[in-house]
Assembly symmetry: D2
Homo-oligomer: 144 residues x 4
């Protein structure tokens, strides 16, 4: 996978742009970029074992906030590579960075961040990041 531009990212997902993701302006709608971020985030949560933490401990990661800077419009046909990594790890949350690389344009089309909060579904409250997730985050960090 030609993911050199995303070499700092331990998790990169590849997604073909669908024609129907373009809106009446003729480029990929802004909400689709957040879908790309989400797909990379889910892959990242799997890799850092936050999905496993939910299954084992009923502690899951909740999206607290997110943002995006749109750099270039995207068009069909294209295939995007979407990178995700953690840039800041706190007691009960971590901040992620996302980048969307357009292979058709050979450039970064969008970038943003998202904050994932650790949530205890049994206690129904925020909680510390599970140890297995902290280890998972460290392992992914070494890869990048």
């Amino acid at each position: 996978m030609p993911n050199k531009p995303l070499s700092a990212f331990p998790v990169v997902v590849e997604i073909p742009v669908q024609w129907g993701e373009m809106d009446a302006y003729g480029h990929v709608n802004n909400t689709v970029i957040f879908r790309f971020f989400e797909s990379a985030r889910i892959a990242f949560l799997e890799r850092c074992r936050f999905i496993a933490a939910y299954d084992e401990l009923k502690i899951g990661g909740i999206l607290h906030s997110t943002d995006c800077r749109f750099r270039r419009p995207l068009y069909y046909p294209d295939t995007v590579l979407v990178g995700a990594r953690a840039t800041e790890i706190l007691a009960d949350r971590f901040v992620m960075e996302y980048k969307v690389f357009s292979t058709a344009q050979n450039t970064i089309a969008a970038e943003g961040t998202g904050t994932v909060v650790s949530f205890d579904y049994a206690a129904r409250s925020k909680t510390k990041l599970p140890a297995m997730v902290i280890e998972g985050l460290a392992r992914l960090d070494e890869m990048s």
Copy 2:
């Protein structure tokens, strides 16, 4: 609600068209029409007590098949009225009809059908329509 064109329908939902639902052709994307059908179907399943049947009996309605005939393109701004009714009731399923009325164009923009099959989630197999749903369907039929 000016639902005369849908007077034969016991369930009608009103949905404003969102700008972002238009695709690169500049009209509402075909998948959105199926979202309209779904919204009317869910309201119908609530009204005929199929949602309650799931909660009480773990028997739910599954979408087996659906179709749509697109009559007019839809545009933002508009508000659609989406009617749903059962047209045929069999032992383990019923067939629904949907119509999408455009208030901006004062005409039917799309119409279609959907078949909902009764599914026993405990036994993981098709099953007969629950009695409470058959009663619910009869009650809705009297309204139209």
Copy 3:
């Protein structure tokens, strides 16, 4: 329209939540909140005459960046009120604030911002906000 919680917003759109907008977590997907923002933004761009500016001058508003803080999960059924206003006006852009009010929960479910840049489609470059848009923004500001 019971838009007291959004009384500071000159533009408020009302959108019923569709069942199909919920994701596998059982609440409204994060990308849908950005669709809500977009619907309020489009209504705002109409009201401040940026849509008219595009038709007359080929100068349009482009979404430069956006962010969202998710405060409460949203569920079907619900109707949201989405407010939009300009909070900062610069030579070639303005910053908007959005709030999503859940009528079912009687609280703000999400809030965010978006930056809209003035773009000259003929010259294919950023440009100053057209006079008609500056006037439109002032007029809307007086209403809030």
Copy 4:
């Protein structure tokens, strides 16, 4: 590409399922299947030169109607192969068949049809299929 199950289809597109395409029932929402159909249809329209016909002649293909039979629920993670072919060619339209193959489940998850009508955008009326499209359809037919 392991498209043996779709060997009768001259056009097959490969699409990874996104997590966010699942709905509150925990499987891929029915509207997404129509998005899959659409992506295969657009690829088919490119290959049979209907996109080129629009650019050259302002005659385009419009979706007249479509239907789907849902055979198996789809889940993330999965990659679907979506086949499209023409099964019936008339003077002013052709009928397409679509099949969605789940690589995770190694089976057909959905299948359906769609009717594409030839539309003269200058005259604003239905018209005969352009000769270049009829040739394109014949060429694709030989491949299957």
